[in-house]
């Protein structure tokens, strides 16, 4: 087994997952010395009755909670400042973010403000500028996430943040909250998850700790995504997917984002497509390319992708081919299960071919660790055509 010469790993997240997980919240808050949490969620999740589940979970606990259920899809600094005032005036001492995406960004950034002052937000925008732990932040994820909820990243307006202190202290995954989302949202977050986990598992910063989180995430996505897309009533599958989102967020926070991540984001931003869809299309093409490059660990990927038996039966020299083949098969299965909604090529995603060159140049320009525009363009062209 691969054991690197040196590595560092840190994950402050505690995960509680399963039946009645929410009812453990009062106990958990007490261990973090918090007594009055401020709950943030979106109108959509409140309308779906998810806030009622939270209220019910706090029954009999003696804990008073504050609920703000108006987080918009595109929050701004103005909202953060208003929330800051509400939090301060209400005497709250911790945050609970219910949902995914913008709600969680809002909570993470609000946490910078309530742990210090609202002015801190601009000061701490950037990478690793926060220097001390923030207030307890609990994440109660749903399937409406983006795959970034448990990670060290957050953004608002034009500001983006990266710090391990932004990661939630506790993630409570409760089946009652994991209601079905539309196919696109579910697939997008899970494909972001798969991409992140695969890039951690195969990338130059591979280490046994981040591998453990990545391994669990990859297995969960491979075992459950197709079946959840095919049959949204698969509650256990949905729960497993959110477990995967969480584990991959932890792993991803410990490594430099890889090529599939960067390129997928670039395509998504350029063409108003979901990042996850683009990353999912690009991933096997990029892995194919990386097999011939130094520093990548592709053969071992077969293990989390396919499990013990397939890995053990596949001869050493066939492992790379098999792993990539499985990812292409996975694309096909998703395409079929979603009745064509999850496409397999950039062409089918209606990315104009003439934009590829521009995207490649932009993505390469953005990256700090080198992959050049030519390589990116080659990969994009392959992914445009599809397998």
């Amino acid at each position: 087994m691969f054991s690197p010469d040196r590595y560092e790993f840190f994950c402050p997240v505690k995960t509680n997952s399963g039946s009645r997980a929410l009812e453990h919240l009062p106990f958990e808050l007490d261990t973090m010395n918090a007594t009055k949490p401020f709950v943030i969620t979106s109108q959509k999740d409140a309308r779906r009755g998810l806030v009622d589940v939270i209220i019910d979970a706090f029954k009999d606990s003696g804990v008073t909670i504050g609920i703000f259920d108006g987080a918009p899809a595109a929050p701004g600094m103005k909202l953060i400042k208003e929330l800051f005032t509400m939090y301060r005036d209400g005497g709250y001492d911790s945050l609970i973010a219910v949902g995914g995406g913008a709600v969680v960004d809002t909570a993470k950034i609000l946490n910078i403000a309530v742990s210090g002052a609202p002015e801190d937000i601009e000061r701490y925008a950037g990478s690793d500028l926060i220097t001390k732990p923030l207030k307890p932040l609990v994440l109660v994820p749903t399937l409406s996430g983006t795959g970034y909820e448990s990670s060290r990243y957050a953004c608002i307006d034009t500001l983006s943040f990266s710090s391990c202190f932004l990661m939630p202290h506790l993630v409570v995954i409760d089946p009652r909250m994991i209601v079905f989302e539309d196919v696109e949202t579910t697939a997008a977050a899970s494909l972001v998850t798969l991409t992140h986990a695969v890039e951690v598992y195969t990338g130059p910063e591979k280490n046994p700790l981040s591998d453990s989180y990545a391994y669990a995430a990859i297995r969960f996505v491979m075992e459950n995504l197709v079946s959840v897309i095919r049959d949204p009533r698969d509650g256990k599958g949905r729960l497993a997917l959110v477990n995967a989102h969480n584990a991959a967020g932890c792993a991803f926070s410990n490594s430099t984002p890889g090529m599939a991540h960067r390129l997928g984001k670039a395509v998504g931003d350029a063409c108003q497509l979901s990042w996850g869809l683009c990353m999912g299309i690009l991933l096997p093409h990029i892995l194919e390319r990386q097999t011939s490059e130094d520093g990548y660990h592709i053969p071992g990927l077969l293990l989390p992708l396919a499990g013990f038996d397939v890995y053990a039966e596949t001869p050493e020299h066939m492992k790379v081919q098999k792993a990539i083949g499985i990812l292409y098969d996975f694309q096909r299965d998703l395409f079929e299960a979603s009745r064509g909604a999850i496409v397999r090529s950039l062409k089918d995603a209606e990315v104009p071919e003439e934009m590829l060159r521009d995207i490649a140049r932009k993505a390469a320009g953005r990256s700090s660790t080198g992959f050049d525009a030519d390589v990116s363009l080659m990969v994009l062209e392959q992914a445009w055509k599809g397998k």
């Binding site: 399963g18 009062p26 106990f27 706090f58 009999d60 909670i65 609920i67």
Partner: protein, 176 residues
């Protein structure tokens, strides 16, 4: 723009009452089993004098307090912790976890594995308390349910099982 709404913690009276009744029954059954069953008697005999333990739900009850009185007899001591010193407290983290246990969806072992219990006190005492609870459950519950509640359903002689069960039930109901 939204506003904040403050929600005070509500109550779950029905569930709380159910757990309280089950605990009352369990407490009296432990007292009964201590005079009927030699293993329960032995477990208590090895615990310190005046040993008292409290099985309870966080944050504020219900409680089940059982202990040895001055003469060494095992007594169910009610649900009121006022003025009682306990050597061991097994706390169930919340009411829903207690419901899972007292509807036999989760055994003591499973609840422990799922980190739903907190033990205040010495571990050897907690081990003894769990063994006592297991034996009492075998007396009280039909095999099909008790098999879910304990790890290994014991191979007792029919005398111990059936006659013992009658006595435990009689004494529990009559409070002897």
């Amino acid at each position: 723009m939204g506003t904040i709404r403050e929600v005070k913690s509500g109550k779950k009276s029905l569930k709380k009452d159910y757990v309280a009744i089950m605990m009352w029954f369990m407490g009296r059954a432990i007292q009964a089993a201590a005079s009927v069953d030699r293993d329960v008697r032995k477990e208590f005999a090895e615990l310190p004098d005046r040993f008292t333990f409290d099985l309870c739900v966080m944050p504020d009850g219900p409680h089940m307090i059982v202990g040895k009185d001055r003469k060494g007899y095992v007594r169910y001591m009610g649900w009121d912790t006022e003025g009682k010193r306990t050597n061991l407290r097994i706390k169930i983290k919340n009411l829903e976890a207690a419901i899972l246990m007292f509807t036999f969806q989760e055994s003591t072992a499973l609840a422990t594995a799922r980190n739903r219990l907190v033990v205040d006190g010495e571990v050897p005492h907690a081990c003894a308390a769990v063994r006592i609870l297991d034996i009492v459950e075998v007396y009280l519950l039909p095999k099909i349910i008790a098999k879910l509640a304990v790890k290994r359903y014991p191979l007792w002689s029919p005398g111990r099982k059936y006659i013992g069960r009658v006595f435990v039930y009689l004494r529990t109901v009559l409070g002897l």
